[in-house]
């Protein structure tokens, strides 16, 4: 862990512990309403999704525009298993993880041979296919009518002679989502610092050098795609049991784009950056939803605001708010160089 933030190890750690402590007590702060708690759960959900997506563009350097397809698959897996079989959430999460991974492999194995842009188009097509499938296979998903009446998450200890709690209200979901975020971050951290993560980073930085080190590109890209898809599906599984209602239009392409924006805004490839990106975009979306009507503007204007943010980021900070350490180091070096160049000019004046 230390080697990713060699210079700021201490400061970064203190900030992280502070944020975690704050996250633990947020629900008990006096001004926190159920609505606010709902937003924070949404932030957590998008953190999981963004961390999952980050594997593909952030760790492997491949553009993925179809991530929401896996999110939808996970959500409907969870919803249908709950409605028809009444499975527990704790069984559904691993099943959704596996189902996401299977679809990731099915889509990735034939298409990851394609280079950059062509692959992105295929993924885009996939997410559209998922929406069409959910919309049209009415016998399975009830189509545009949506899938209502999904049971909320419950903790059932009756098997061991204990009680059964059904999670109602936002508070338990808050801690459940926080727990899931922590598990995701934990997994990401361990992958980053392992043979698997290094192989991904090698592919991102230089494919030719990577194969020369004995890395099979297709295998490792498919693994990346499958794990990414699996986390997307887990996010979906949580979403289904949290909002207890699903409909096809929740999984439109816009969601993919929004999650991609979070990654780009936060810092592609950096776990903490991606989480910051999710936090900023989700909370800003909610703030604008309140603010824009007061200014006499329609709510849809916030999409314009997102576009504006992306344009500004590309112009002033293309590597994101929290770039990966190497890029951050280069940016620092660049600033120093620019100052040196500016120096003599200032003297002339």
């Amino acid at each position: 862990m230390g080697k990713w933030f060699p210079t700021k190890f201490r400061r970064g750690d203190i900030i992280r512990i502070g944020v975690f402590a704050l996250a633990l007590v947020v629900p008990f702060l006096p001004f926190v309403s159920d609505y606010l708690l709902h937003i924070v759960v949404l932030v957590f959900l998008y953190m999981i999704l963004a961390l999952g997506l980050n594997i593909v563009p952030g760790f492997n350097g491949l553009l993925d525009l179809g991530y929401v397809g896996f999110y939808g698959i996970g959500a409907y897996t969870s919803g249908l298993l709950t409605v028809h079989f009444g499975l527990s959430f704790w069984i559904i999460v691993p099943l959704a993880f596996m189902n996401g991974a299977i679809w990731g492999i099915l889509l990735g194995a034939p298409t990851l041979r394609l280079t950059g842009d062509y692959f992105a188009i295929v993924t885009f097509g996939f997410s559209e296919l998922v929406v069409l499938l959910i919309t049209n296979e009415i016998w399975l998903t009830r189509g545009p009518l949506g899938l209502p009446g999904i049971d909320p998450v419950s903790i059932d200890l009756t098997l061991f002679g204990g009680p059964k709690w059904e999670l109602v209200g936002e508070l338990p979901y808050y801690y459940l989502a926080l727990f899931m975020v922590l598990v995701t971050v934990f997994v990401m951290y361990r992958i980053q610092d392992s043979r698997l993560g290094r192989a991904w980073f090698a592919i991102r930085d230089d494919e030719v050098a990577a194969v020369s080190c004995g890395i099979n590109l297709l295998t490792y890209k498919v693994i990346a795609f499958a794990i990414s898809a699996a986390f997307g599906a887990v996010g979906g599984a949580f979403f289904a049991r949290w909002v207890t209602f699903l409909s096809p239009d929740m999984f439109k392409f816009w969601e993919s784009f929004l999650i991609l924006c979070m990654i780009v805004l936060g810092g592609m490839g950096n776990v903490w950056g991606v989480m910051v990106g999710a936090f900023v975009l989700v909370s800003m979306s909610e703030i604008l939803r309140e603010l824009l009507p007061l200014l006499g503007l329609p709510v849809e204007v916030r999409f314009l605001a997102f576009g504006l943010i992306m344009v500004l980021m590309m112009r002033f900070r293309p590597a994101g708010l929290l770039p990966i350490p190497a890029v951050a180091a280069r940016m620092r070096a660049g600033r120093v160089r620019r100052k040196k160049i500016k120096g003599p000019v200032a003297v002339k004046k």
């Binding site: 290094r198 980073f201 090698a202 050098a209 890395i215 099979n216 190497a326 280069r330």
Partner: protein
């Protein structure tokens, strides 16, 4: 002794362009062999064919150890690496955003096994493997003279060190044949001398070396045998001094007039 690498009648066409034409030569175990020729002669194409990055149009490439020979023409680059052939690149190809030590650790990829499960759960086997990978990576860094620089970002190092790092990464794949593509390019005389010493030390550790180089001081100083190719064809072969005085070689590099002048003088 049985040659470690045999190239037999190798052809490589790019559309209508014949980049390699009937190349045949052998490399004996523990030799330091130079591959020279004017720009565009096909040296790097030959490297790419051996390393699996290009598929030869015709011909055979045999890679042997004491027990058996494997035909590697047209094999995938990752399998060639796993068999024991490593390479560096003419224009340095490091993993720029990673630390120096991670670059070397990636070289160990094909010699290690751990997977997603091992990474997340940190099984005892995975931990043992990571320890081994880290130890070996540090050894290789020390071997090429980059000890203590493991935590630097690869792209932030000076040019000469990046060359050394690329060699360390290639060594980390634990090859029996190491192919160096212009390792002395852009080096000053002192760095070139250090590089020659390093190449000899690598050979002394039991690794055969095939070297593309334009710097004749390096070629003459370190190679025991030289193969010359020109326009994709085998031109000459022999001890460095003999090749240096071969009229055909002088003609290829400097033109016919120079060759005549040399043979007359």
């Amino acid at each position: 002794m049985k040659p470690i690498l045999e190239i037999k009648g190798l052809y490589k066409n790019f559309g209508g362009l014949e980049a390699l034409r009937d190349i045949t030569f052998e490399i004996n175990p523990l030799e330091i062999i130079g591959l020279i020729g004017p720009n565009g002669a096909g040296k790097t194409t030959l490297f790419n064919c051996v390393a699996g990055l290009e598929k030869p149009t015709r011909g055979e490439i045999l890679f042997s150890d004491t027990r058996r020979s494997v035909s590697i023409g047209g094999k995938k680059p990752e399998s060639v690496t796993a068999l024991g052939i490593a390479r560096t690149f003419q224009n340095i190809r490091l993993f720029d955003n990673l630390t120096v030590i991670d670059n070397v650790k990636i070289g160990q990829h094909c010699r290690t096994r751990s997977n997603f499960f091992g990474a997340v759960v940190r099984t005892p086997g995975q931990q043992e493997e990571e320890r081994l990978v880290t130890d070996k990576a540090n050894e290789f860094l020390e071997f090429v003279g980059l000890a203590g620089r493991g935590e630097e970002i690869a792209s932030s190092m000076p040019y000469g060190n990046q060359r050394r790092l690329e060699i360390a990464r290639a060594l980390a794949t634990e090859p029996r044949l190491l192919m160096l593509d212009e390792p002395a390019a852009g080096m000053n005389p002192q760095e070139s001398r250090d590089l020659m010493a390093l190449i000899r030390r690598i050979r002394d550790n039991g690794i055969t070396i095939l070297l593309i180089e334009h710097d004749m001081k390096v070629v003459m100083g370190v190679c025991e045998r030289v193969v010359v190719i020109n326009h994709g064809q085998w031109l000459a072969e022999g001890r460095p001094q003999d090749v240096q005085n071969n009229p055909k070689v002088i003609e290829a590099y400097l033109g016919k007039g120079a060759a005549d002048a040399a043979s007359a003088g």
